[in-house]
Symmetry: C2
Subunit: 352 residues, 2 copies
């Protein structure tokens, strides 16, 4: 069964007995074609099963109308949701998203990233949404190419401050967590932070640290790495290194995988939550309220973040200036459930 012939625009025009040009205009819904001619062309195209060749079109336009989204582990709900958000914003404008995940088996692969960057350039992507900071080399490549770039969930590196960024106001969210800890009377805290590769790490730590200073709480920092496994190991080591009496009264994990890992370590030690230790995580997720106790989290409404990034990209592509929106910060919401001791009378629920 051989591949059927794929009719070209030229063939459609011949069959419709009009010129190539007319056929093109008719199908492209451009003006300057008699209504009847257009009808004929459309009909003929339909009959012939004509499917325009986007490759030719893009080649001509020197632009594929494709946006790259560089992510760091799609098997992570965070990135999956983020991508959905971006798509939601850009698809109505006719852009497709090409998702390039620089992680393989949960670990970052710089060579992989470089391959994706090259692929995006070769495809003549219209722009790229970056969800983390690529290597200096790749940043240079992209910048030299004048590729429109939007950073989400991270800040552009030094020298690239001209690119817009969208992020959650992590400091605000973390500060709210700290206030919540304080309202419960907890005075000894621990922060389980993700790899500093993500700049969000700093803001999340800073917000908590400020709150600690405000109320005179102690704050220990645990390097949680990149995923559940490393976070669990780090937490285990931390707990193992001191007597139970010296364990923190409240713990804050800086993202979902880290919360997962931290909880694992706590369970190994049969820590009672929240009686013995309170715990809050950054990022909401579908199982959070089904845990026992239901997990209190900072919800950054990820898909909205993605949507903002997509919109910002569209604006950049149309040459809209930043208008002071170069650094967009979205306010997260503290979702108080029970893992931290529940609501406190008189305390604000929103992080704002």
């Amino acid at each position: 069964m051989p591949a059927p012939r794929r009719p070209t625009l030229r063939e459609v025009s011949a069959a419709a007995k009009v010129s190539l040009y007319t056929a093109s205009r008719a199908l492209g819904a451009h003006a300057g074609v008699a209504e009847e001619t257009r009808r004929t062309v459309l009909k003929t195209a339909e009959d012939l099963g004509y499917v325009p060749n986007r490759l030719a079109r893009s080649l001509k336009h020197a632009d594929s109308h494709t946006l790259g989204v560089l992510t760091a582990n799609n098997a992570n709900l965070f990135y999956a949701s983020l991508v959905k958000g971006v798509e939601k914003a850009v698809q109505p404008q006719g852009y497709d998203c090409f998702v390039a995940d620089a992680f393989e088996d949960g670990v970052y692969d710089a060579a992989r990233e470089t391959r994706f960057v090259a692929a995006l350039l070769e495809q003549r992507a219209a722009g790229i949404v970056l969800t983390y900071v690529p290597t200096a080399q790749n940043m240079r490549t992209l910048s030299d190419w004048r590729m429109p770039l939007v950073f989400v969930d991270c800040l552009p590196p030094e020298g690239f401050e001209r690119f817009p960024s969208i992020a959650t106001d992590s400091r605000l969210g973390s500060h709210a967590v700290g206030r919540h800890f304080a309202a419960h009377g907890y005075r000894s805290w621990a922060f389980v932070g993700h790899t500093p590769t993500w700049t969000s790490r700093f803001a999340r730590e800073a917000g908590l640290r400020e709150a600690a200073a405000d109320c005179g709480a102690e704050l220990a920092v645990i390097e949680g790495g990149n995923d559940s496994r490393t976070a669990c190991a780090a937490m285990r080591a931390f707990l193992g290194a001191r007597s139970r009496a010296d364990w923190p009264r409240a713990v804050y994990a800086s993202n979902e995988p880290l919360l997962n890992g931290a909880l694992r370590a706590l369970r190994e030690q049969r820590v009672r939550i929240p009686e013995e230790m309170a715990i809050v995580g950054f990022d909401d997720f579908p199982w959070a309220d089904l845990l026992d106790p239901p997990q209190t989290v900072v919800d950054q409404q990820i898909d909205e973040l993605g949507r903002l990034a997509g919109s910002r990209m569209l604006a950049a592509l149309e040459g809209v200036p930043d208008e002071g929106a170069l650094r967009l910060l979205a306010a997260p919401v503290l979702r108080i459930r029970a893992s931290c001791g529940g609501p406190v009378a008189g305390a604000a629920v929103s992080a704002g």
Copy 2:
């Protein structure tokens, strides 16, 4: 800051003082070019910052070397993992994946699917991995086009049996769940099934039903819909419609979102698990063993499923015959944790 000039192959060849042909051969790592000439060309390309235009290349080849993956809700871990698996298999062979998610806000959108199918044809995708059965119209379009197709997690619809498929042996997995129920002495079961749109639904029900017949258990069926929300509502309605004494002793949810919903409904009723009711779900997930009690599941090792689909697609593209592997069934594994009462002495742990 104007866009910099993008050097073309022609310019590279001119700068290197060779012909277009030679430059093409040199960069394409083809034979028939003197080693020294090649070196010069490569150097020149590098210096000029030459980036090949894949659009032109693909146009020429009438194939974009892109594979489509049609999914049904990427915000769902299942599809995200599946895609990662497919990518893992095909990227080494130089194929890129274009992920088309026919779901928007968690609901299926046929028009959206049709747009994606069109986009894939326009892009001259090399093949498409289908994770669910598209509309009859779209199936026809794809088939008429002679698009190489591989079905994962579903079976080709009537008339399209010539296309290969990869799926988990749901019946096997479900049967193991039923045996596990039986081993615990549970005799009254309920199956919370996902929409019959997915053919896997039937196999999952059938396996359990067979096991029920084997041991004389009763089996109620609850239509759980497509997601956590609908499943929760369905479960709530089911429980509400009968006295607590008539509630099933063991429940089996046919996928992760449905398990989530079912658990929500059970929690509303303060059902004690597994003492009062045992529950098992299809699909493992990162929070399963952190639930209280840890959730027993059937693990279908999703990314492996994706990998198999990717490999099958590669084979199809190279014209490798099916060799009896037209219907590939991968064996799942029953991961016994505590939500079902834990292991039973003398019972097999694997589903195989």
